[in-house]
Symmetry: C2
Subunit: 335 residues, 2 copies
């Protein structure tokens, strides 16, 4: 196992202990964040651990971070994995991926994850109360990436600025001269409500009277976006622009516009939200609010590592800024 017949000494906790002039159990306590070590001793040991780049024997707790997906979806899961992988690699931590979603066998649960003894766990979108409790009991730091639901105040998360995104999308359409701007809202998740609130705020700021019949609520799929747009665009006083809650809905709008013979952006401007890989390949390329999944995932990983080190953290939750990506699906309305 120790592959040095006489080369540099293997960096074991025994080696660190000797370097620091302390006993092996003391180093063990520091590594596991246990109490019963003076601040000075702890600091000295941590210094040596960093200096010699101590790594736990792979697989023991602390050497991996596990990403728990509810559902792994092609259009965005990879950005998250890549963001985590980037930061994990720098810290010489392995990245585990698991799926604890609808199509997992009933036997599968967070216990499997805990059994793998990851140093950190990252949840994508959802985390249940029992999961939070179990991870806390085992003292495994966890962070929620892009939370879909409400979270207790002490659960660390990394989200995105949904309100701001909805606001800037709407603002962009207003600046272009649009007044009849429809919004296709999503289900009752906080992130959908925030996007919609951004829309309403921008409309109010521009003194455009809100027309609630222009806001429809539906699911976040292409089919539902299509149905909603069909209805919206069949009205005599149809909107000149539609802001969709996500890109999939926006592609549904594309399809409805095409069927109705409405050109984009000539007769209808469309803005999406997410900026999934394919948004740039659409015809015309979709103007959308970029959700920085890669950066969110990197930040969440960093946060988990910081938490794991027991370092104080400025805030337990943070939101990474969206950025409006203007492409070809928006233009001034025909007057």
């Amino acid at each position: 196992m120790t592959d040095n017949p006489s080369g540099p000494p293997a960096v074991t906790i025994a080696f660190i202990a000797e370097s620091a002039g302390v006993s092996i159990p003391t180093v063990s306590k520091v590594l596991n964040g246990r109490s019963g070590v003076s601040v000075e001793t702890r600091a000295r040991v941590e210094g040596l651990i960093n200096k010699y780049g101590y790594r736990r024997p792979s697989g023991s707790r602390g050497s991996t971070v596990e990403i728990v997906f509810r559902e792994m979806e092609g259009t965005w899961a990879v950005d998250i994995i890549r963001g985590v992988e980037r930061v994990a690699r720098q810290n010489r931590i392995g990245v585990l991926v698991s799926q604890l979603g609808p199509d997992s066998s009933p036997a599968t649960s967070i216990d499997e994850t805990i059994g793998r003894r990851p140093g950190f766990v990252l949840f994508v979108s959802e985390i249940s109360a029992p999961e939070q409790a179990k991870l806390k009991a085992k003292d495994i730091p966890f962070v929620v990436i892009n939370p879909a639901g409400e979270l207790p105040d002490d659960v660390p998360f990394v989200g995105t600025t949904n309100w701001r995104g909805g606001h800037s999308a709407t603002r962009h359409l207003l600046d272009l001269g649009h007044r009849r701007i429809a919004m296709i809202n999503g289900p009752d998740y906080p992130f959908c409500q925030a996007r919609m609130a951004g829309y309403f705020s921008a409309m109010a700021e521009a003194d455009v009277a809100a027309d609630s019949s222009l806001v429809v609520r539906t699911f976040l799929t292409r089919e539902h976006g299509y149905a909603a747009a069909l209805e919206l665009l069949s009205r005599p006083d149809r909107p000149t622009a539609i802001f969709a809650s996500n890109d999939m809905q926006a592609f549904g709008v594309y399809r409805a516009a095409r069927e109705l013979g409405l050109s984009i952006p000539g007769e209808l401007s469309v803005v999406g939200f997410d900026d999934i890989v394919v948004s740039d390949w659409a015809d015309p390329p979709l103007t959308t609010v970029h959700q920085p999944l890669f950066e969110m995932a990197s930040a969440a990983t960093d946060l988990a590592f910081t938490l794991g080190r027991g370092e104080p953290v400025r805030q337990v939750g943070l939101e990474i800024a969206t950025v409006l990506t203007i492409r070809k699906s928006t233009a001034p309305p025909r007057s």
Copy 2:
């Protein structure tokens, strides 16, 4: 660690050893595939290991499978991860993901992977000779998923029936009545050559004289597909159908057709290869050769596990069948 104050005994190698009436070192040898154990003893110990569901302490060699990507791409990486995850979960094996590609730091190499002590390694598309050598030296079973290059005869792989796919795509166009069928070929990889050979075979079988000016070779991107299609479609004797080497190229063909005012499938039929997530959302939905990445990944994982158990394996390489997915981008040619 052993969480049974008096419950069922923890399934350790000591427990297995006692059940089997052998010593601990013997069980250790069986687990690690070492020699020096009689066939009968080995069989008995393996039986008990399965019966009691022995799991190595997580993280020690054997409890994880690592997927090594050269480049993690949104349109297909997730299918591979999901395929591996499915099989791994059934075997209570963790899934590690890493990227050893162009944007990895120079320090990163297969040594990092080996340091994690995975039980198995799955390479996506590419594997280098040093990687093969190092893994062999460490006795870690590995399989290449969807190999892009040539592989030594003894390297296990799971690919797809590229020749067959190219053949069925072309055959479909011929059956529809097309005769001037162009092919946009890819770089000099075996899988591209196989797709093209399938095209030529189908053409020859149908007694259609090959027109080599109808075959252009370029890269596998949307932009290159666009450029190739533009050239092909600007000719006076333009083809009535185009078979592209992958879906990205096919989307480039869509764009070129749109610019040239050619309707699909009315004036031009298009067939792609891969069946990436978005092919079904295109306008019109793309007829393409489905590459069963999920199944390929599952099969590769199974193969790696079988190899790890030291069980004889029918063949060291296999190809999972493609299936032609007919959607809306193909129709009989206008006569």
